[in-house]
Subunit: 285 residues, 2 copies
DNA sequence: CTACTTTACGGTATGCGTAAGCATT
DNA sequence: AATGCTTACGCATACCGTAAAGTAG
């Protein structure tokens, strides 16, 4: 059994050419390497070096041994990487969210139910979420459409209605009801990373300009202090996160009202039972 | 960097189920393994076991780690095997002989010229020798036909004539000359492992029965004490290895006279110069 | 004179085995 | 009782770093 440490030192010598250089790179001493290389030769029963009084060089076998050693080192590195990755994967719950509101509502609940687990949350349009659940990329996902798949277990976990925040003087506030189409042609403040809601842009409002804000703070700043309309929703209104001096008006289009569904693999239903129970008890969104 | 030793112990535990059993197989103590496994977990920063007071079991990560560990152990074993094999290959001269006589004549010469090298000698019909030289399977070969290949260097290294040993009373001894065909219908003693000479059987003597002897001693015994004819050659006759009470008669067919040629890759001619010089000085066969 | 390898020496720390403790079957 | 894991303790030895010697360019 050849120790990894010796192979590492051999590889370092092959790479840096002298024991001194290798010793420095390995944060050890020259004599230590001299001894290691002798031990390696003795362990193998094979001569690997051409020695002159003040020069050390790999012989033909040594050159090849250094190559082979790298393979073993790679294998050893892979081992470490793979074990750590697998361990982490078992301590991590990966979740896909289709919108920011379910994420901010559910994340603390999940944290609470699965104490000690790391949560890895992605947000995007949810069209591929079912496939990613099936491929084990995600353990859970929140969709905005009821899944129709026998391998998938789901439970409704909330509801969200879209509102628009307007200046009180805005003509739209006098409309009996507002449709998305009524916003066409306007410049509207929009927060990025809004999951599936992003699909709205350019649908019923081909001539609207969306002023996309990456930063939450900028969005708040501009929403409050400019006259641009901005989107908000039942969630923020219910929590009292309302823009001062603005009027919040509900949008009546059907795509502005959505239900959310928490899903997992049917085969892993029991693993997440506690969580599903929890969201039953909690009135959310 | 995870030490091979720890991986080996992990694999042993996975294989034998308990630390005690693994310890016995590894010729070490239980407590040593306990400590090693803790060190492995600590080196990795990953928990690999389910511990109860008197029971140790791999957890999910541990099971996988043991699998991965085996890969590293295999790689480490391969390293050792391959380095040793390559070292040996550099200390070994592989030679293909087309007949036993060149082998017994040349082997001591080669041993003498390449002191300290191991000689690996095969004997067989030489039809594929050129290819095997080119594929580096053989460093040298002795053929019974002059090679016609610009990549191959050669030098004649001997000559051999085939004789037949007969009872003095045998009618054939009165023939002016003997051909192989004259032996047809007879039972003839033959030693196995005779290289290309084996091609004779069934050529000009379709009705002869060859009494194949694997063992040299059996062949001598039967040759001497039975009345069966047996093959011999100029080499043995010149050395005085003659059967008592028999008459040796030369066979006149052309295929019963052969020259031998020592060959190597033209590109390695210099490597074997000493040997080729040697066989020039030596009168052989 | 500088750069490098090797040997020698002394200290340390790693790792082992024995013994003992404790829990489970 | 028997089996098996863990902890504690004392010890061997393997390995390391420093120092020094020797050699080649």
């Amino acid at each position: 059994m050849i120790e990894i440490n010796l192979l590492n030192q051999l590889a370092a010598f092959a790479k840096y050419g002298t024991l001194s250089a290798a010793a420095e790179k390995l944060h050890t001493s020259q004599p230590a390497l001299t001894r290691s290389m002798k031990k390696l030769e003795s362990d193998l029963g094979v001569s690997l070096f051409i020695r002159s009084k003040n020069h050390l060089e790999l012989n033909e076998v040594g050159v090849r041994a250094a190559k082979y050693a790298q393979d073993v080192l790679d294998a050893d590195g892979d081992f470490e990487t793979k074990v750590k990755a697998y361990d982490r994967s078992l301590r991590t719950i990966s979740i896909g969210f289709c919108a920011p509101v379910p994420q901010s509502v559910l994340t603390p609940i999940i944290n609470n139910v699965f104490d000690g687990m790391t949560i890895s949350a992605d947000m995007s349009d949810d069209s591929a979420f079912i496939d990613r659940i099936k491929s084990h990329e995600y353990h859970l996902a929140v969709l905005h459409e009821k899944p129709d798949d026998e391998d998938i277990y789901y439970k409704k976990c909330g509801h969200e209605d879209l509102y628009i925040s307007l200046m009180p003087s805005d003509p739209l506030t006098f409309y009996p009801e507002i449709h998305l189409a009524d916003l066409d042609g306007r410049s509207i403040l929009l927060l990025s990373r809004i999951g599936f809601w992003a699909n709205f842009s350019g649908n019923k409002t081909p001539n609207a300009t969306y002023l996309l804000q990456v930063d939450q703070v900028s969005f708040s700043e501009l929403s409050t202090n400019s006259s641009y309309p901005s989107f908000t929703s039942s969630y923020y209104i219910r929590r009292g996160q309302i823009l001062e001096g603005k009027v919040n008006v509900a949008l009546v289009d059907p795509e502005c009202h959505t239900d959310y569904y928490l899903v997992c693999l049917a085969s892993e239903k029991n693993k997440y039972k506690l969580l599903f129970d929890q969201i039953a008890e909690t009135t959310i969104l």
